[in-house]
Amino acid sequence: MRRIFWRIALYTSVLLVTTIILAPVCWMFIMSVSSMTDLTARPMQWLPATMDFSRYRMLLTFEPNSPGEIFLLALRNTFLAAAGASILSLIVGFPAAYSFSRLPGRRAPLLYLVLSTYMLPSAALILPIYIALSAFGLLNTPFSLAVVYCSIVLPFVVWLLTGNLNTLPREIDQAAAMDGANLWQTIRHVVLPLSGAAIGTAALFGLLLAWDEFFFSLILTNDLRAKTLSVAIADFAAGRATDYPLIATAGLLSALPPVFIAFFLQRSLVKGLAAGSVKG
């Protein structure tokens, strides 16, 4: 009897959690395929009379001076900035992580320093970055955005890779030294192949982080040459816009890539988050 009660309580709670996570997203989807009149009806009809996918087509069709242009160009910019930041962070972050991992005694305080830069509010850095970029005429390009995003992505990548390299036995490096490998050969033949998965994870993490960024993009970009999705979405949703189905569609579509990455990455994402919080 108690057991049955327990099962019922368990499944009820699971259902509740599932609903809480899914319901808002489902509602956004319903909005995206509804007509305005469906949405304004009172009392609310929860399911639209007909499913209308026209906004998806609108946003995914490139046509000059259309919402589709805004969305697709912003998607391109976001991708360039995020991928650029990710790659750049890996290129400089990997050697750094390797030295942190292999010389822990002396470098540990430096690692914490790097880590704490991740936590600085963007607002503390924005003005000089803005002034400097404008002096060089580098505002409003996805590539400067990529470099600036490194301030967020790089510490994270270093932290993730350091944790991962720490799990690689040092004897492996030493064995390579015994086999006559120099530092570069050790990294190239032994360490890099063994951290492939970690590098992939770090890259995708970096992509997620950069994809989510808003503040820098808001200030450092002006128009579709560099504006990213997060700012484009904020614009779509701002005060005077009222095409709610279109806004919902744009939101769903721009959430798709990171959600896809996250599901794909789920295992390592969870492991990475957990390892990070346990071990630092």
Binding site: N65, G137, N222
Partner: protein
């Protein structure tokens, strides 16, 4: 499938961005979304311009009004990567001119006479013209004829007292939960509604000596009126979250008897595809008070400026000249009334919007200007906050205005 579609589109985007030919001059132009000309209107005008001016291409960008000011400011430092032409609100020329963000257009603009004086005010500061007027706009009182008839009224209110009184009857008869809807969200739209009421009550922002006058006369009465109308339940309490589009939606769905809004609502609220009250609405100048101004109107005009760091100023001026020409404006007169006086005698312009033109004739003449201050942004920010705090019952109107006066005293 969707992903593939997306990928293809990205490829298309990459390809498309190289289509522009090398010798073309490409202008970057910044506009706002909604109110007055729609995105589509501006795009159509621009296409016509490009057709008429080979060799000039215009990249358009639309941001919400709330982001417009900061976008312009942020682009100032972008060097030649910034905008060439930007839409500038009537409250900004003082700031933009003082900081030298925009060019002095005084020597370029056409003769003054054929254009309404209120329009010229839009871009004027320190005796010079910094923005060519383009959108001539003010707020009107829109009313739902059906609801008024059901409530037993055969005419729209002529004074604010009458507005209050009619609204009470409508509420009591259950014809609308909240008869009046305003754009009182924390934004410039709130300042526009407030300024209009200040004029109605015969008040002013600053007295003759340049000191803040918020605590006295019409400026205080306007706020007391706003607070009272929410307390009495005749104004929609959700107005404190609304901007213009929410006002339009509420009014268009027939849930409000009265709404204060810009010209652009007239065609849209009369469009059966977007409105449930099409054909049942009226428009009049916003009512005033006997002791103040008999009618009220706020100058919500906007102009087009050439950014100081643009390196394509000739093409930029050609573009502005085209957009502000009487010909172009007449063609799109249903979305935004022309700045040209003679247009109002043109049957093509008047046709279908006689009611609007009639209201405009009164309103445009009396348009009230928000103060021309270099620090207007800051003053407006404080004003919005204090008005809202009174509207939301956080403090009394008197206290709010007192705080505001001391906060803004000494601002340039």
């Amino acid at each position: 499938m969707k992903r593939i579609l997306g990928a293809l589109s990205i490829a298309a985007v990459m390809a498309a961005s190289t289509v522009v030919q090398a010798q073309d001059i490409v202008l970057q132009a910044l506009f706002m979304k909604q109110t007055a000309y729609s995105d589509k209107d501006v795009r159509d005008m621009t296409n016509d311009f490009e057709a008429a001016h080979p060799g000039i291409k215009v990249n358009l960008e639309f941001v919400p009004y709330e982001a417009l000011h900061n976008k312009i400011v942020a682009s100032i430092s972008a060097g030649s990567g910034g905008y060439d032409v930007a839409l500038v609100d009537t409250i900004w020329p003082a700031e933009f001119a003082t900081n030298q963000f925009v060019d002095d257009l005084t020597s370029l603009v056409p003769p003054r006479d054929p254009i309404f004086g209120g329009a010229w005010k839009t871009g004027e500061y320190d005796g010079k013209i910094w923005a060519m007027p383009w959108i001539l706009d003010t707020k009107y009182l829109f009313y739902n004829k059906d609801i008024l008839a059901k409530a037993g009224f055969d005419h729209p209110p002529a004074t604010l007292d009458e507005l209050t009184q009619q609204a009470k009857v409508i509420k009591d008869k259950g014809l609308a939960d909240y008869p009046i809807v305003w754009s009182w969200g924390q934004a410039e739209a709130l300042v526009c509604d407030y300024a209009l009421l200040v004029q109605a009550f015969g008040g002013q922002f600053y007295d003759e000596s340049g000191e803040p006058a918020f605590t006295k006369g019409g400026a205080l009465k306007a706020l007391q009126f706003m607070v009272g109308s929410i307390k009495d339940g005749i104004s929609n309490p959700r107005s404190t979250e609304f901007l213009e589009e929410e006002v339009r939606n509420t009014f268009s769905s027939g849930r409000a008897a009265f709404a204060l809004n810009w010209t652009y609502m007239w065609p849209l609220a009369n469009d059966p595809k977007q409105s449930e009250v099409a054909g049942k609405i009226g428009i009049v100048p916003a009512p005033g008070t006997p002791e103040g101004s008999p009618q009220a109107a706020i100058n919500g005009s906007m102009g087009l400026s050439i950014m100081r760091n643009s390196d394509k100023k000739d093409a930029a001026w050609q573009y502005i000249k085209y957009l502000t020409s009487q010909e172009t404006q007449d063609k799109y007169a249903s979305m935004s009334l022309p700045i040209w006086k003679s247009s109002y005698a043109d049957p093509k312009v008047v046709k279908g919007q006689e009611e609007l033109i009639k209201a405009a004739e009164t309103s445009v003449a009396i348009m009230y200007n928000r103060p021309t201050k270099v620090q207007y942004q800051e003053i407006s920010t404080l004003l919005q906050q204090q008005i809202q705090s009174a509207l939301l019952g956080l403090q009394s109107p008197e206290q709010a205005m007192k705080d505001l006066a001391s906060q803004t005293s000494g601002m340039k």
